[in-house]
Symmetry: D2
Subunit: 337 residues, 4 copies
């Protein structure tokens, strides 16, 4: 950690700062410049992070040297992590599509949608049984009944199931049915929930919070990894900005930026990012071109009667068309779909 | 709900839209303008909110007429809600201060801080036993042990206890010790947690999420109210913007804006909003001048050795000075402290 | 325009509102719903936009029906605009690359860079002679001398010149040398400058402001079009968000979103969007996949010694490699490069 | 400047970086830590700012030590700057109010408004003759005719005139009529305009850009100061965030934050910040409580017929009432109004 002293910091202030750092077990390296004195604290930086050195008299600013995440960092592991889900891999050369309705609404519509999606070659089915809804008066999901329908869809199509966990008390039931457990954007910093899935032996798809920085996103992944579970898939789903034309703003540059910082696979949820079905196709292609390892796309056999997020859902025929277009983009970046 | 048709929408498209609205049990009012045809849907708007009318062919845009929250709205209740906590009121003429350390770290420092805070006349003590921390390697709180220290501090000073609930599984233990249960900013849309505190008979202090709109904030309060608990205190604690000089950006205009929309009391957390102790005093005064019903201020007897948020904590003597200054501002807006 | 009245608005308030609308020459259509009375104002909406109807007693909210831009709207012109610049088109099937240094620094480096860029087949050369710099102590550009070097580069390579206009007083000199006049992000709402280029017969490349909404962006294009100049190229170059890992956040969804609203071509500036050369390649590919009509890429023969934005500049060999990769993406979306 | 090397940076990379720094005339101080090697560059940091050291092989990150602004910094001048405008001071103990219509629309309404405003004791009259409007179809201001009316209002009331300069070509005419020249938010980074007013001998009121950081805001002030003009008044007028309930988000913490960084006076424009007259009073009081040196308030004798920003304008009687309330807040922070 680097501590920059104020111009005119007194000798006593400087000594207090040095004493404080040394008392925490770190050693000190002082550099007197023309304009500023700079103190380098050498040793375990994490000890200092917890201390408000920046509010000590004489301190102008404090700059950490190391990144706060470890296990999920590219420095810790050079090779890309590849997550194996019953034989299907996320993070390898093949790009994976995770498609299906926002929420499981009834058996018929789920099975219809699932079968249509499966025809394209899509290996993963998404669908929420427990739904986080902004309004208490909106449809909140079918609960375990929805999970049972997902199981039926799995049996009928062979697809793997991705479904969301919202509450630590639902862990057992979700664990029973899910192949990948999703942590939603609103729970990205629900740290107790992160610890719970960190203690499990199932892959976790972690969505980026609406206004989470990349560092915070990776810190949340670190929570999971620090409990032992390294099967983590990161998912960008749009961030909140001033723009209102789209539901959120898809941050496509996050794909190469995270890949430099972390070894974890990155998938994109274009449906939530834009919130309008008519823009999903264009941004899906952009995501693949930028290096995404997969896409999470909302597909519904009858969007107009969907109980949740119908506006952003593709009809199966539009999804099938997009799937073919994505194959061409995948090939243009030397990957397969 | 108002549905604006595209220029050139066909007769068939128009009829489809009208049929859809009528099939949901609403009636329809059509207005043919020079540039656009407009369809008004008359009846229970909440039915339409769930349907993606905006993605029907021929629709240009859809505008809801009613606000999505009810119980917490000023329209539902004209008079200000006053929350009574064992005799001390939040939302009345008297402005309440809630002060104390970010987290409970040990008995001694908590009692020292609490006694210093109580001397000023402050009626509420804050302190976290379960702490949401960005890093899994940071101090996570003392758990129930911390709550016991809070109880001792309450016995020693007579102050009421405000402490955070992070996990539905901690509800019973938090309920036992807290006078006001805090829902933190990261959990503002943890809807299952909101429902839990909505089913209780204790006041809830609900913090605004980092990037939550005012409408979403009130919808989260509606979750609590819809379960029966109307004792809700709203807390603005800074929103996330592009500015990095401060930890967050305090949205002071939220105070009068919410008071027009809702009958609930509004308190401000200047400490988290700015994240720097040297700016806390100025923005605390601003909040009172703008009409806040209270402040949540971090005070620590030894900020430099605090395990959490020391940079934004005031020392007890600085807090005591601020308290006197706030009295003058309160008086200037015809309130007391 | 739709005016929603407050619940409980008085008869007098309603009549005042109706009288006001009628006095401005519009007619009125009243719809009494169960919860709200709604007044539709029929006629020239632009008259009402200028009036604060929303602050009249009894009014709850006001919703415009029409978009505020006309000439640049897709409704006004269904076909894509194709801008012809001495035979090279922007907005047609062929995707155009505009490459070169951020600023013109000296003749040698400009010519070296230009020749390297031209080898790939790139038809447009970018380079600033007048530079908007955050600091008054930074290199401010060579002025007309820089424009002369651009002319030499044009003669040597046959490329068209894209260069920025910052001040209406430089119009004549820029007009003399530029094939496309760039209006920078910081001047997107310099309305006097927009009017000046609107009165000219040269194509204008208009960059989106750092925090401009899509509607504001199109309104600035409307300023240019309303003065007669319809040769407008829109350029997204990243918006400002809370994220600090990249210089700005590239809003890739703006490409399909604008194409629905407007007939104007859209190009992307990946270099300013991310501000780091190592991310330029990924987001360039994303932009083409999403439907961009061109890219504006910073290339410098010696980035480490560049006087401006060296961190985001590609070396010519990296640019040549990217160019080949972009060809493959272009082909995958049925376009050429 | 501090350069942090990547873990595993080679000896050659390190030497290249050292050579580069030394070749620019700075000296080097190397510190080998357990995790990272850190290179301190000692000497004139501004030379290095222009160079992309961060993209040299082996570099992980670069941290500047000094702030990029000088003349406007608190370090350069410890005492508060007090700007004297024909005897009235901005930045001293007395808080100044600058009130009047958004734009000058006609002589009668201006004089009516001005006389009403003057009655309260307000010393400064605002009013735009050249107006930056989002739409080319909106009222663009009366030009010099408007300035003449301002002069008449000045003669009738004795108030000083604050009016906006949008274009360097209007400098002479604005100079002739204005007592304080305003640079609007959209022109905060119109650097050529900043240089022009920097070369003048009249006070400048510089508004913060919609999405300008505090550092960028101070860099724009530095542009003015670097040309010789030190009579600069900073004005916060709301920043752009995700919130849509208000026009912008007033950043009240900017007042104490800037006062730590700079000696310049800070005034607040509550009218543009919130964009709704009904919130102006609350945030005006907040601004004074937080330490603002003045307020810029829109007042119009007939807001409903205003040609610009009527929704956010106070009627004279409401302004007079607010003025009295502000006196009480000013007194509570030991200042006068």
């Amino acid at each position: 950690m680097i501590i920059v002293l104020k111009k005119g910091a007194t000798k006593e202030e400087k000594e207090n700062i040095i004493n404080k750092i040394e008392s925490l077990g770190l050693s000190v390296h002082v550099s007197e410049g023309k304009e500023r004195t700079i103190i380098g604290a050498i040793g375990d930086e994490s000890i200092l992070r917890e201390r408000p050195i920046n509010s000590m008299p004489g301190v102008e600013s404090v700059m950490p040297i190391l990144k706060p995440f470890k296990l999920v960092s590219r420095e810790f592991q050079k090779e890309d992590s590849i997550i194996n889900i019953s034989g299907d891999e996320i993070g390898g050369n093949k790009i994976q599509i995770i498609a299906g309705p926002c929420s499981v609404e009834d058996k018929e519509s789920l099975l219809t949608t699932a079968k249509d999606v499966a025809k394209t070659g899509t290996a993963f089915l998404r669908g929420g049984a427990f739904k986080p809804r902004t309004s208490p008066y909106s449809f909140q999901g079918l609960g375990e009944e929805g999970l049972k329908y997902l199981k039926e869809a799995k049996e009928a199509t062979g697809m793997r199931i991705v479904t969301e966990l919202m509450d630590p008390r639902d862990l057992d039931v979700i664990y029973k049915y899910a192949d990948v457990i999703q942590i939603g954007a609103r729970n990205m910093q629900n740290f107790r929930l992160l610890k719970e899935v960190g203690g499990m032996d199932k892959p976790v798809l972690l969505k980026r919070g609406l206004s989470a920085t990349i560092k915070e996103f990776l810190m949340s992944a670190e929570y999971i990894a620090s409990e032992g579970n390294r099967q983590i898939i990161l998912c960008e789903r749009g961030i909140r900005t001033f723009e209102t034309e789209m539901r959120n703003t898809l941050d496509v540059s996050v794909i190469p930026a995270i890949k430099r910082l972390s070894h974890l696979p990155v998938v994109i949820d274009p449906s939530h990012a834009v919130g309008r079905w008519d823009l999903v196709s264009a941004v899906s292609k952009a995501a693949i071109a930028a290096g995404a390892d997969g896409l999470l796309i909302e597909v519904h056999c009858d969007p107009l009667n969907a109980l949740c997020d119908g506006s952003q859902s593709l009809k199966p025929n539009k999804f099938a068309k997009l799937y073919e277009e994505l194959k061409r983009i995948a090939k243009a970046v030397d990957r397969s779909l």
